[in-house]
């Protein structure tokens, strides 16, 4: 209010048409806006106001949407003359925020896409496994037992049948495995179950609670007990690293994020991408489990070649029509089937070579 009215003469060049709403009625008043010093002058039929520019709030530019000039008393102007508004704002030294600056330029948008993709890839590659690992190691034993029982009962409902091994053969393997020293003081709770593999053929599985399932066909494939023990050691590695749980948790997190991102499009598209993304984890988990088995076998004077030999034989049976050779601990039986279907084939040969080269 320090400037006298005579000083505040609006410049003709900066006259902008607008519609004024007083905040008390819905009526729109046609007005013109003009700058005069640090004041914004508003003139219309029976309306005149002059307000300090500093007290006004100007909305961000949003395409064809009107710019809104908001007064502290609740009144506002809708300005649809974007060129005139831009000129007036420039004259008033108004600065749009840096976010607006970025939003208006494709260069920044492209940079934002690149940045988003990089962050997402990093989160997927490093963040997700770490998070899943942390959660997997905090789950209570009760939850693990429940989950594993559910999976086992699905298996027993048709995928596997009671074992036909003699009880001497069973206890022979169980006791031999119990005599093995676990690597570097690790102590993993486990139970070995024998089943005749129906659909899953020669196979071994690890459930999160430490249940190791080994099929008669796999025992038949092994030339000696050491080969069967090598496979059990590998499965124990899965239990030790909680691979099954981690797989399950990673899958859940991915599904949540993808379906949240796709919003309306929903879980439909979420299924396939998450499935494909998941495929690479099982390969890393196989290597981890192999490494565990190698150190366990070494600690007990058994050659890691035994595991390589079993993998070779399993790969051979799979080529002749097997769905899978070495099973991961499955979140659910079909999960395993589909995952192996997509991924582990090329990896097995690498693993065999790796195991054989490990022997010095």
């Amino acid at each position: 209010m320090s400037t006298s009215p005579s000083e505040a003469q609006p410049s003709e060049a900066l006259r902008v048409n607008a519609r004024y709403f007083d905040g008390r009625t819905a009526r729109a008043h046609p007005v013109t806006l003009a700058l005069a010093g640090d004041k914004l002058l508003l003139r219309g039929d029976g309306i005149a106001r002059a307000d300090d520019i500093g007290a006004l709030h100007v909305s961000e530019p949003m395409g064809a949407a009107p710019r809104l000039i908001k007064y502290p008393d609740g009144a506002h102007c809708e300005v649809r003359d974007h060129a005139g508004m831009a000129a007036m704002l420039a004259a008033s030294h108004h600065r749009d925020s840096w976010v607006v600056h970025m939003q208006n330029r494709w260069r920044w948008a492209v940079g934002a896409i690149v940045c988003t993709v990089l962050v997402l890839l990093a989160a997927y590659r490093w963040g997700l496994p770490v998070a899943a690992n942390a959660i997997a190691h905090r789950l209570p034993a009760g939850a693990l037992d429940e989950m594993s029982q559910a999976t086992l009962s699905v298996l027993d409902r048709g995928l596997v049948r009671p074992t036909q091994l003699t009880s001497e053969r069973q206890s022979g393997i169980t006791q031999a495995f119990a005599r093995l020293v676990p690597p570097q003081g690790t102590d993993v709770r486990y139970t070995i179950l024998f089943r005749r593999g129906g659909a899953i053929g020669a196979n071994a599985l690890a459930l999160p609670d430490g249940t190791l399932i080994i099929t008669d066909q796999l025992i038949d494939l092994s030339e000696n007990d050491e080969e069967a023990l090598a496979v059990l050691a590998h499965e124990l590695g899965h239990v030790h690293h909680r691979h099954g749980l981690r797989q399950l948790i990673q899958g859940s997190i991915l599904a949540i994020v993808v379906s949240w991102y796709l919003g309306d499009v929903g879980g439909l598209a979420a299924g396939l991408p998450t499935l494909l993304l998941q495929a690479r984890y099982s390969r890393e988990h196989e290597y981890d489990a192999d490494a565990y088995a190698v150190s366990m076998l070494r600690a007990n004077g058994i050659s890691p070649r035994r595991l390589a030999a079993m993998l070779t034989k399993l790969e051979g049976t799979r080529r002749s029509g097997q769905a899978e050779s070495d099973a991961n601990p499955p979140p659910s039986p079909h999960g395993t089937m589909i995952r192996d279907y997509l991924s582990s084939h090329p990896a097995t040969q690498e693993r065999i070579e790796h195991l054989n080269s490990d022997v010095r």
Binding site: R19, F21, D22, G23, R24, T25, A26, R27, A28, S59, E60, M62, G63, A64, A65, P66, H76, V99, Q103, N104, R105, W106, W108, A109, A112, I113, C115, T116, V119, L139, P140, G142, A143, G158, L159, G197, G198, A199, I200, G201, W260, Y261, L262, V265, G266, G267, L268, A269, G271, L272, R318, G321, Q322, A323, E324, H334, M337, I338, D340, Y341
Partner: protein
């Protein structure tokens, strides 16, 4: 797309995909680098883009929510969600209790979120308001849906009608009340047709699943076990196709019918709304949006949102009686953003 409310004043939408895309992606990055904190500001900006690009009778809408209020609500919402997750992992009993507790607070949160959403929306400088009571919120968001589930969906159309009546019948613009006149019968008519449409894919699905021979896998000798993997893939793809049919063909039809039913029976004082959305148009939009989103790995999402909003608004109008500008402003009220934001986290769709 030519059918348009001719003698009613139509809603105009001036939003453009290319503009909204830049706003969306820049705010997404800011949200990521601030570990989610910026999401409250991003949300306000996104809604402002849609509100301000929507106009009726030559004036635009506006959204006023304070990002800080939204952020607070979001933090509490995330806290509740984590608490619920932890609780549901400890023991089955505690999980059930936590779920029940969640059910009990949800109607209250939904009521708060409606209050928050409307009081932060304005048109011509006047705020909207929501006057629905908390007691009614429990009746429509908890009691009726529960009755719907207990009766295996038989009463669900009533629940849906009650929810819409609660939302639309308790809203005000300044001092004028909205009215809602759609009857339970109208909802049953649409749900009956929906059921009829669902019968086709359900039957096909049943036949497909029945034809895949699971029995052979549990038979003696585990012959040709490789086939199990193939069958699992077939089941998976059959489910995907089923979901696709429902989502892309039936959901647009239902959505179009609902929008028309609800808005053709909504009034603001003596002024009535009109909606003439066509199922086949919506279907085309859903299909093309879906394909484009998949092909662009999600980058088309903001364009898809704009296309959908433009179509829906283009086919809506207000049939006015007398001078709408004579409406007087009413006093305003403010409320915390908790309800709206907690509802967001729990992904409860509040389609007003």
């Amino acid at each position: 797309m030519e059918t348009r409310a001719t003698d009613a004043s139509a809603f105009e939408f001036t939003g453009r995909g290319s503009e909204y895309f830049r706003i969306w992606i820049v705010n997404l990055v800011l949200t990521i680098v601030t570990l989610g904190i910026y999401s409250a500001w991003a949300k306000v900006r996104r809604l402002q883009y849609f509100y301000r690009n929507t106009s009726l009778l030559g004036a635009s809408f506006d959204y006023h929510a304070n990002p800080i209020a939204i952020l607070k609500g979001r933090l509490i919402g995330v806290g509740l969600l984590i608490g619920y997750q932890v609780a549901s992992n400890t023991s089955p009993l505690i999980a059930v209790i936590a779920f029940a507790a969640l059910l009990v607070v949800l109607p209250w949160l939904l009521q708060r979120s409606l209050v928050f959403k409307l009081v932060n929306s304005s048109y011509r400088g006047l705020r909207f308001r929501f006057m629905g009571s908390v007691g009614d919120a429990y009746r429509v968001f908890l009691l009726w849906p529960l009755l719907g589930y207990v009766t295996l969906g038989l009463l669900f159309p009533i629940a849906h009608q009650r929810i819409k009546a609660y939302q639309h019948g308790n809203s005000l613009f300044a001092s004028s009340a909205f009215g809602f006149s759609a009857k339970v019968n109208d909802f049953y008519r649409i749900y009956l047709k929906l059921f009829g449409l669902m019968l086709v894919p359900l039957t096909v699905m049943g036949i497909v699943l029945g034809s895949l021979n699971f029995a052979s896998f549990s038979a003696e000798g585990g012959r040709d076990p490789g086939e199990l993997g193939r069958t699992m893939m077939q089941v998976f793809f059959a489910l995907m196709v089923f979901y696709l049919v429902i989502f892309l063909l039936i959901a647009p039809w239902f959505s179009a019918r609902m929008q028309n039913l609800v808005w053709n029976h909504t009034a603001l004082g003596s002024h009535t709304f009109e909606s003439h959305v066509r199922a086949r148009d919506l279907l085309a939009i859903y299909l093309t949006n879906f394909v484009a989103i998949v092909l662009t790995l999600g980058l088309f999402k903001p364009f898809a949102d704009i296309r959908l909003a433009r179509y829906r608004l283009f086919h809506m109008g207000l049939r006015t009686q007398g001078d709408i500008e004579a409406l007087l402003a009413a006093e305003q009220q403010s409320v915390g953003a908790l309800g709206q934001e907690t509802a967001d986290v729990f992904d409860v769709d509040i389609s007003f």
